[in-house]
C-alpha cells in the first residue's frame, strides 16, 4: 500500500530513535553519526526551512502551469465543466506518484504540495459534479464523505501528516453534516455525537499505533490523536456549542438548554487531560491539556466578568509564574519519570532562535509605547531622520 521504500522507512524510524536517545544524552555525537551512517536512508527529507521553501515554489509551479493550460484551452470551452478539475487532479496525482517513486521524496515539500493540490482538484471537481447533477441536493454530506475517502487513501499511500489531519477533519465534517439531517433530535444531540466520534477516533488511534501494522504511520496517528483530543473538547465547549446552536437555530442570544453540562466539560476536561497525561506519561495529552486551559479561561471570561481584564491578566500571570517556579523546584531531581532538564537538542527551534524572535515580536513595542502618543509619532520620525543623518 505504502509507496515508499520499506527498508528506507525502517531506517528512518531508527534514525528517529537514535536522535531521541541522543537528545536524552544516552548516545554521544560520534556514536550518533556512525549509527546513522550504518542505517542508510535514501529519502529526500530536508529540514523545515527548505521544506517550506519547496512547498511554496511547487504551489507556484502548479498554479501557473494549470493556469497556462486553462488559458490555452479556454477558447475551446473545454474547461467549462467539472471534468477539467478532475483531469487536473488526475494529472497532479500521476506526477506525484512518479516524482515520489523516482526521486525518493518523503516529506520534502514538493510531495506535500502535490498531494494538497491533487486532493484539492479532485474534491473540488467532485463538488462541482454534484452541483451539476443535482443542484438542489448537492450537500456537504457527500462532499465531506468523498473528501474523507480521498484523504484516507492519500494518507495510507504516502504516510503524510497533512493528509492524516485532513482525514480526521473531513470525518468530523461528515458526521456533523449527516447528523443534522436527523432533524430536531439530530440538532439536540449533535455535540454529544461529535464528542463520541472524537473519543472513538482517539481510542482507536491509541490502540492501533502500537500495532506492527501501523509501524510507518505513527506520526500520522499522533496527528489524528491531537485533532481528536481538540475536537472532543471543542464539541463540548460552552462557547462553541452556544454559538453554533444559536447559528443553526437562528436564535441569537438564547441561553443554551442544559448549559451546566457544557460548563462542566469546558472547565474540567482540560484539567482531566493534564491529570491523565501526567498519570499515563502521555505528552500529547499533557500538551493539548495545557493548550486547552487557555480555551477554558477564554470561554469563562466571555460570559462571566468576575474581575477586570487587567487584574485577571496580572493575577493569572503571577499564578503561572509561581506554578512554574514550584514545578522547577520540585523537579530539580527527577520525580515520577518527569524532569525539567533541557534536552540535548540542537533542533530547528534552537537553530533559528524562534523563541527569541517571538520575544522580540511581542515585547518590542512595550518599551516605547508610553512615549508613543499620536503627537510623538511625527516628532519621532523627525528625530529619527536627524539621528540617521548623524552616522
Amino acid at each position: 500500500m505504502i509507496i515508499h521504500n520499506k527498508q528506507c522507512l525502517k531506517n528512518l524510524k531508527l534514525h528517529e530513535q537514535f536522535e531521541d536517545d541522543h537528545n536524552a544524552g544516552c548516545l554521544n555525537d560520534h556514536e550518533l553519526k556512525t549509527l546513522k551512517a550504518r542505517y542508510y536512508v535514501g529519502f529526500e527529507s530536508p529540514g523545515i526551512v527548505m521544506r517550506i521553501g519547496l512547498f511554496i515554489l511547487t504551489l507556484i509551479i502548479i498554479s501557473f502551469t494549470s493556469g497556462l493550460a486553462s488559458l490555452i484551452l479556454s477558447d475551446a470551452h473545454l474547461i467549462d465543466n467539472f471534468v477539467w478539475p478532475l483531469i487536473l487532479g488526475a494529472a497532479n496525482y500521476v506526477i506525484l506518484e512518479k516524482w515520489v517513486k523516482g526521486n525518493y521524496h518523503y516529506g520534502s515539500g514538493v510531495d506535500n504540495a502535490l498531494m494538497l493540490t491533487t486532493a484539492g482538484f479532485i474534491v473540488g471537481g467532485f463538488a462541482w459534479m454534484m452541483d451539476t447533477i443535482d443542484p438542489a441536493h448537492s450537500s456537504f454530506t457527500s462532499i465531506s464523505l468523498f473528501a474523507f475517502a480521498v484523504s484516507v487513501y492519500l494518507t495510507l499511500r504516502f504516510a503524510d501528516l497533512l493528509m492524516s489531519a485532513l482525514s480526521s477533519l473531513s470525518l468530523l465534517a461528515f458526521v456533523f453534516f449527516a447528523w443534522q439531517h436527523l432533524g430536531n433530535f439530530g440538532m439536540a444531540t449533535l455535540p454529544f455525537i461529535l464528542m463520541l466520534v472524537s473519543g472513538t477516533v482517539y481510542y482507536f488511534s491509541k490502540r492501533v499505533i502500537k500495532q506492527p501494522k501501523a509501524f510507518y504511520y505513527d506520526h500520522c496517528l499522533q496527528v489524528v490523536q491531537v485533532i481528536s483530543l481538540l475536537s472532543l473538547y471543542l464539541s463540548g465547549n460552552y462557547y462553541v456549542v452556544n454559538e453554533l446552536s444559536n447559528e443553526l437555530h437562528n436564535t441569537p442570544d438564547a441561553p443554551l438548554p442544559f448549559g451546566f453540562i457544557f460548563w462542566i466539560i469546558t472547565t474540567l476536561l482540560p484539567l482531566g487531560y493534564i491529570a491523565w497525561g501526567v498519570i499515563t506519561k502521555n505528552t500529547i495529552m499533557l500538551r493539548v491539556g495545557l493548550l486547552l486551559i487557555a480555551g477554558a479561561v477564554y470561554t469563562f471570561r466571555t460570559y462571566y466578568h468576575v474581575m477586570p481584564i487587567e487584574v485577571a491578566l496580572s493575577v493569572g500571570g503571577a499564578v503561572l509564574l509561581l506554578v512554574c517556579y514550584a514545578v522547577i523546584k520540585y523537579l530539580k531531581t527527577p520525580q515520577h519519570g518527569f524532569t525539567t532538564a533541557p534536552l540535548k537538542r540542537s533542533s530547528v527551534l534552537d537553530h533559528l532562535n524562534v523563541e527569541s524572535i517571538i520575544i522580540g515580536e511581542t515585547f518590542s513595542n512595550t518599551g516605547a509605547a508610553p512615549t508613543n502618543t499620536s503627537s510623538r509619532f511625527g516628532g519621532g520620525s523627525a528625530g529619527g531622520g536627524g539621528s540617521s543623518a548623524g552616522y
Binding site: K13, L14, Q17, D20, D21, C26, N28, E31, T34, L35, M50, L54, L57, I61, F64, T65, G67, L68, F215, D218, Q222, T283, L290, I309, E310, V311, A312, L313, S314, G316, G317, A318, L320, L321, Y325, I328, G337, T339, T340, A341, N353, S356, I358, I359, G360, F363, S364, N365, T366, G367, A368, A369, P370, T371, R376, G379, G384, G386, S387, S388
Partner: protein
Amino acid sequence: MTTHHNYDIYEDLHAEKLISDDSHQKLQQRKTNPLISVYWEVKTVLYLGITLLTGGIGTLIYKNIDSIGHQAIIAFITLLTTGCFIYCFKHKKPYSKARVETPNTFFDYILLLGTLSFLILVGYLQYQYNIFGSNYGLATAIPMVALFYIAYDFDHIGILNMAIANLGVWMGVTATPRHLLAAGTFNSQRIIFTYLGFGLLLLAAAWLTQKLIIKKHFKFTYEHYGIHAASIALLAGYFFNYDVDLSFLWLLGVLGLSAWLYFDSFKARSYYFALLSVLYGYFATSCLVFRILSMDTVGEGILALGMMYMTLSAIGVIYLLTSTYKKFRSV
C-alpha cells in the same frame, strides 16, 4: 521515546563496538527508567506568565493612573524591577566574550520580567513627569542602551531582539519584519533611507561579531533583522522611484545583497539565510523580468509569457535550492 522504540538493536550494535560501554549502560538505564522532559512546556508557560503579568500591570497602571498614587505605582514597579535584578545579579555568571550558559531555566525569565518592568518604569516616568522633556531621542536611547547592556552582560538573545527593535524606534522606524510589512510606511525617500541605514548597520554588527569574536552566537539575530530591513527597504526604494529611469539600480542593490548573503551563509552553515537570499534575489529578478515584459514590445502574448516565466523560473529556483541544500549537507 519514539512509538516503536527498539532497544534490542543496541545489543548487536554494542557487540559490534559501535556503542561504547558507557552509552550502553545509559541506554539500559533509560529502558528501565524512562524520563520525560517537560522543559519546553515549562518554558512556554513561563513565557506566557510573563506576557500576561507585564501586560496586566501595564494596563492596570494606565487605567488607574489617577486613582492610585503615583508614588505607590513607582514604588511598586521599582520594587519589582530591583527585586528581579538583585536575583539576576546574584545568580549571574561572569561576563565572557563567548556564550554563557544560563544558571537555570527560571533565570532567563526573571531577567525578562525585570527588563520589561524597567521599561514600564521608564515609560511611566516619561509619561507622568516628563523626565526627558520633549527630548524623545533621549527617551528612547536610554532604554535602548540599557537593553543592549542587559543582552550582552547576561547573554540573553531575547532581550537582544528587543534592543534591536528599540534601536529601530530610536532611529524612527519599526524593526520587526512583521511590522515592517504591516505598517507600510515607506512613503518618503527619507524613511526608505533610514530603513536601509538601519539594515546595513545591523549587517555590519553581524559581521563584527565574527570579526572581533564577541558573542558570535548573536550574529543570527543581527543578520535576521538586518537582511529583512535592508532588502525590504531596497525593494521599497525601487517601487517608490518606479518612474525614475535608473530605478533598476535599487533592484541591483537587492541582487548584490542577496549574492553576498548567499555566499556568506556557507560560512555560518545557515541554510535559513541561503534560502532568504535566494527568495529575495528571485523576487528582485522577477520584478526586472516583468518590467521588461511590460515594455509593450511583446504585445499579446505577455500573459502566456509571464506564466511560462513563472513556471520555468520556479523550477530553476527549486533546482538551485536543492543543489545548495546538498552542498550544505556535504560540507
